[in-house]
Amino acid sequence: MTEESIYSQLSAKFGDACLAFENEASHNPGALIDSTKLMDIMIELKENPAFAFDSLMCVSGFDLGEEAELGMIYHLYSVSLNHYFTIKTLLNRTTPKVASVANMWRTADWHEREVYDMFGVIFEGHPDFKRILLEEDWEGYPLRKDYVPAEFYRGMKIAKER
């Protein structure tokens, strides 16, 4: 199934929640959706036998800039039907919150923890929500554009970036 038809079916079902179909700049066409409806759309994508997205390849966060929003991007793949789709959603910078899909795809478990670790996005309903790569008491979210590297961590000096 092509990405266009997936998007048209999705937008037929969810209406306003699908904001746009992105295929110009992106090499992986997909839908930009409303973050509050993420869970419903993901359930549809996974459970509907026409889509059958049984594999979540990647969950990544990105930051559009110090003033703009944070983004989440989900790359989906169906092993059984061999098609792809991308779900993108934008989150409020001050209170980034989105539903966790870790219970649907276990891949998302660690990937979401990593996004939290790096961007501070809160995933609601995640089974084991904590930092993964950095220490529990690390301050700030390093991959945000407004992150200021700390001088010290527990009394240890942190090497400066060039």
Binding site: A25, S26, H27, S55, L56, M57, C58, F62, L133, L143
Partner: protein
């Protein structure tokens, strides 16, 4: 007599344990020898690759990419180069693509040799490891000839290669391939068919297909579970659609499908398939040709361009999510490393097995901590 009072014990394995393949820490909850819960704790080798990448030009990122999975540096460089080239829409000369395929497959063999060898080490056989390292050394010699380095090559660049192949390289590669089948037979004799090894690995840590897909397990681990999924076949990149080879899958020859032995065996067979690919690529390699495509000096993908490119790393699907803001510095480089997803399934498949089996399963998953922590 009443029931014996038993208690669960928390056992800390690592980060300095000999069998955790680096600095991985496993929190085991054990009941005697039986393990009831495994929690991998990662991050000890975190080198903030993604943060680095946000401050460097596209070209400068590639040496850092090599360091993420230091066992398969060539593959990582290839994956990154492919991702950026797709963003720029560059066509490469055929010689470059052939050499890249040859290098990537040699690296796959080298990486699998380490996987096979260390797996032998995990179940207690020291000698197979040394044999594997011996063959790997020959591959590294080839790499050294071509790129000048033995571990972190930075050979595959965006838009081409660092150097052309030196004279005599192709002959040496053929020489290695001629010897290689015999050596694989040796591993089979000392390890694969060994009854103790089979007892240790067959039926241990069975990873069912649904669980594997759900956990995002890819590469030999997924194929060990019986699905012939390989990015090189399903979404061919580079010149992989020009070669004849098959995707080995686990068949449960010694136990059930998806056990540790299957995962191991897929690697052994994959080495032979890679050797086949290399042979074909060497046969088809154009004798002359430029190894650098015409790329702009400053790599500036269009503003807002983004890509998620998949690549078949020795450990599975290596994805690069790259986002551009129109400058020569990427705004976001996310590396979806295969081992990161593979190891997250560890708890699921090692529950109820013995402590020794956890090590076997960990070895059969073939993790590289540099890639997990990035």
């Amino acid at each position: 007599m009443g029931r014996l009072h038993t208690e669960e014990m928390i056992l800390n394995m690592g980060p300095q344990h000999p069998s955790t393949h680096g600095v991985l820490r496993l929190k085991l909850i054990t009941d005697g020898e039986i393990v009831s819960h495994v929690e991998p704790v990662i991050g000890y080798l975190h080198r903030s690759f993604e943060k680095h990448a946000e401050n460097l030009e596209y070209q400068m990122v590639s040496p850092f990419v090599d360091r993420a999975d230091y066992i398969a540096a060539m593959n990582n460089g290839h994956a990154y180069a492919i991702a950026v080239e797709k963003m720029l829409g560059i066509e490469l000369p055929p010689r470059v693509e052939y050499i890249r395929v040859i290098m990537a497959e040699f690296q796959r063999i080298a990486s699998h040799l380490i996987a096979v060898g260390t797996f032998g080490l995990d179940v207690g056989g020291i000698t197979p490891f040394i044999y594997c390292m011996r063959e790997r050394e020959l591959i590294l010699d080839l790499f050294e000839m071509a790129s000048g380095a033995r571990l972190l090559y930075n050979y595959i660049w965006i838009g081409g290669l660092a150097h052309d192949l030196p004279a005599g390289w192709v002959e040496k590669a053929y020489e290695f391939l001629d010897e290689f089948d015999f050596h694989v037979e040796e591993y089979n004799r000392i390890l694969t068919t060994n009854k103790i090894f089979i007892e240790r690995t067959a039926d241990v840590g069975v990873l069912p297909v649904e669980v594997a897909i759900n956990y995002g397990v890819t590469g030999p681990n997924l194929r060990g579970s019986g699905i012939p999924f390989d990015v090189r076949k399903n979404q061919p990149y580079s010149f992989y659609d020009r070669f004849e080879w098959k995707v080995p899958v686990g068949e449960g020859a010694m136990g059930s499908v998806g056990d540790s032995w299957d995962r191991y065996m897929v690697r052994i067979e994959e080495m032979l398939e890679s050797a086949k690919i290399i042979r074909q690529a060497l046969d088809q390699l154009p004798a002359e040709g430029d190894v650098k495509a015409a790329i702009p000096k400053k790599i500036r993908p269009p503003k807002g361009a983004e890509i998620y490119s998949r690549y078949e790393n020795p450990r599975g699907e290596l994805g690069f999510y790259i986002r551009s803001d129109g400058t020569n510095i990427p705004t976001r480089v996310k590396m979806r490393s295969p081992a990161f997803s593979n190891i997250s399934a560890l708890n699921e498949i090692s529950q109820g097995w013995m402590m020794s089996d956890v090590i076997t399963i960990l070895g059969s998953l073939d993790i590289v901590l540099g890639e997990i922590d990035r």
